[in-house]
């Protein structure tokens, strides 16, 4: 399967292990990534707060670039990209007059958005395009005994209607389903659908980190070994900032947070190091004995 691939900014900036692990995992799932290397930042909801037209223009440009690849499916690996791009796409798709005006901005570059691309997060691609059965069949090292708390990120679960979450496509459960397909155990805790706090880290640091700290603590209390998130911005608050979050909530946390492709990679048989797990602030090895918990008696075939 070929997809126009939009890695986002943070996956190549502060969380390089995300993009890195995606590139490693893709071939194991027969996904050919056609990287949109000229596409720009989605705006992360901040640009639209400054100028809706600017955010819509930048994202229309990205969609237009995706359309140029000839692929109808565009894949992202960031909840925030998914959410803020879907918001723009909703407007662009809803109103022809508006779309024309935005396309007018792109004309100089010879680009035009034609409503011919669907943008899906990796999690959605896994469930809707590849299928969980297929995924399950490719697991080489089931995550047996690994207790994983899903952390979706706001942008990928709300607003439900805009994101197309309904009975037929219960996208707010995909992370749960993927964890199970990989052989792991889902840990439900209060923070599954809550906010990591990242958007207000520069405005109200305490409120921001209190959110991250609480969710980490709740997951720990529910006995999670780690969290997995499809959102690198959540990862920043949950992992990079975890030492500060500990101070704010006044308790030791030390809960590893994995990117979705990393969790996939582990189950598909890749080594923690190939997946950049050593790059996290909270070292996954500090609480998870990969040789025991993950391997669970079934040594990785790839290893």
């Amino acid at each position: 399967m070929k997809v126009a691939y939009w890695p986002g900014c943070v996956s190549r900036g502060f969380t390089p292990e995300l993009h890195g692990s995606m590139e490693k995992v893709a071939p194991l799932l027969d996904i050919e990534l056609i990287e949109l290397d000229r596409a720009s930042c989605c705006g992360a909801g901040v640009i639209s707060e400054h100028s809706q037209e600017l955010a819509d223009t930048l994202n229309a440009r990205t969609f237009a670039l995706a359309e140029q690849t000839g692929e109808a499916l565009m894949m992202n690996i960031c909840s925030t990209c998914q959410g803020s791009m879907t918001e723009c796409q909703e407007r662009l798709d809803a109103n022809g007059e508006y779309r024309m005006a935005i396309n007018d901005n792109l004309r100089e570059e010879g680009l035009t958005y034609d409503r011919a691309v669907t943008n899906k997060n990796l999690a959605w691609v896994l469930v809707e395009e590849i299928g969980l059965d297929e995924l399950r069949s490719r697991v080489k090292r089931p995550l047996s005994g690994l207790k994983v708390g899903p952390f979706y990120g706001c942008y990928i679960v709300r607003p439900r209607e805009r994101l197309g979450i309904d009975e037929e496509r219960p996208r707010h459960t995909y992370l749960h389903q993927i964890i199970e397909a990989l052989g792991g155990t889902v840990i439900d805790y209060a923070g599954v659908y809550k906010c990591c706090g990242f958007p207000i880290i520069t405005m109200n640091k305490e409120a921001s980190l209190k959110q991250a700290g609480r969710h980490l603590g709740d997951a720990l209390d529910a006995d999670a070994d780690c969290l997995v998130t499809p959102c690198p911005l959540c990862h920043l608050n949950l992992d990079l900032q975890q030492p500060l979050a500990e101070k704010v909530v006044g308790r030791e946390l030390n809960l590893p947070v994995l990117h979705l492709p990393q969790l996939l990679g582990l189950a598909l048989g890749l080594e923690p190091k190939d997946l950049g797990l050593q790059r996290h602030v909270v070292k996954p090895t500090s609480v998870i004995d990969w040789t025991q918990a993950v391997v669970a008696g079934a040594p990785a075939e790839a290893a």
Binding site: Q52, T86, D93, A94, C195, I200
Partner: protein, 352 residues
């Protein structure tokens, strides 16, 4: 007719007992509302179940509750839909709203939270000078636009699940800020700047919203409070250039500048720029506080010194720079509100 089980979280303050769950079976058509289910249980089984309700038609805003964990109006949630959402084996779970103290059963103290916050935003029109002899002449669009926030029925559903308020009870919150937009968006109001300045400077104001979208999903009337908060930020930051002490303005501008410069976000610049630049007095303590984090990031190879200084991709994004300049140079950039214009006739299976 079908049987539905309502699992209601009850709290009887005079009993001295802790809250408890009680189940009621009701026989009603599936398209009847959860409120009708509760009222039926109240009428037939136990008249002491407390719930505020009046219009039954989603206009009075009385019956905000949590149904299956999500804030809803009991009156416009169908029983058959609620069953599908059940987290508890088909039982419809009804609880009081969150973020507000419970008075009894499903009744919360809205005065203590919701209305106090509404009063915080000077919730009345501040006309400029004496009124005209006849009506104010204002555009059709402006009135339709503020009617979106006028549609708020003050039910508190958005307040119930506001994630910022959960960690910062001082946060003015979605309902009150949507109410603030009702005046900032109203051309007849003469206090736009003062209102925005006030709400931008308040640490619990417009920049305390964490973008969680819960209020948008919670609102039964399409008010989209978070979108209104973002519009308040837009008007404060861009139209009035209010430089607040919460870094809201700086963050927004630093972000846009960052993208204009780099095409992709360069986080190493964004953080200090949001505090006013690397050498800004405000930035220094923040950076010092972040040092252990940065050090760890460096040690783990997350942040490399080369990346921290220059953006690796910068040169590839000349076109983006032009584009940002082009849109930013417009006097009145476009804004499309789908609440107002609706959708073009939908073609089945459109991409999304």
């Amino acid at each position: 007719m079908a049987a539905f089980t309502l699992k209601i979280r009850r709290f009887l303050p005079e009993s001295g007992d802790a809250p408890f769950w009680q189940e009621f079976d009701v026989d009603l058509d599936g398209h009847r509302s959860v409120l009708e289910g509760i009222l039926s249980a109240k009428a037939r089984e136990d008249g002491s179940i407390g719930i505020r309700c009046s219009c039954r038609a989603a206009i009075c805003g009385s019956c905000g509750v949590r149904i299956n964990g999500r804030p809803r109006l009991a009156c416009n949630t169908h029983l058959d839909e609620a069953v599908k959402d059940s987290p508890d084996g088909g039982k419809i779970v009804v609880e009081p709203m969150g973020n507000m103290p419970v008075i009894k059963d499903l009744i919360v103290d809205m005065d203590a939270v919701h209305w106090k916050k509404v009063r915080r935003v000077t919730p009345w029109l501040l006309p400029e000078g004496p009124p005209p002899e006849r009506e104010y002449i204002v555009s059709h669009e402006a009135m339709v636009d503020v009617t979106q926030t006028m549609a708020c029925i003050q039910c508190g559903a958005c307040v119930s699940d506001c994630l910022s308020m959960e960690v910062d009870p001082l946060f003015i919150g979605p309902a009150a800020l949507a109410k603030a937009y009702r005046f900032v968006g109203d051309p007849r109001d003469g206090g736009h700047y003062e209102r925005l300045k006030d709400l931008a400077e308040d640490p619990a104001g417009i920049y305390d919203c964490t973008h969680c979208f819960n209020c948008i999903d919670a609102c039964p009337k399409g008010v989209a409070p978070m979108s209104q908060i973002m519009r308040l930020r837009r008007i404060a930051g861009r139209d009035h250039e209010i430089e607040d002490r919460n870094n809201g303005y700086r963050h927004e501008h630093a972000f846009v500048d960052n993208i204009e410069r780099n095409g992709l976000l360069h986080e190493a610049d964004l953080l200090p720029d949001s505090y006013g630049g690397k050498m800004h007095p405000r930035a220094v303590p923040e950076l010092i506080e972040s040092l252990p984090v940065v050090a760890k990031g460096l040690a783990r190879g997350k942040i490399t010194p080369r990346k921290a200084l220059t953006h690796p991709h910068r040169k590839d994004f000349k076109d983006v720079r032009k584009l940002v300049k082009r849109v930013e140079s417009k006097d009145e950039p476009l804004e499309l509100n789908l609440y107002i214009v609706g959708y073009d006739e939908v073609e089945e299976g459109s991409a999304r």
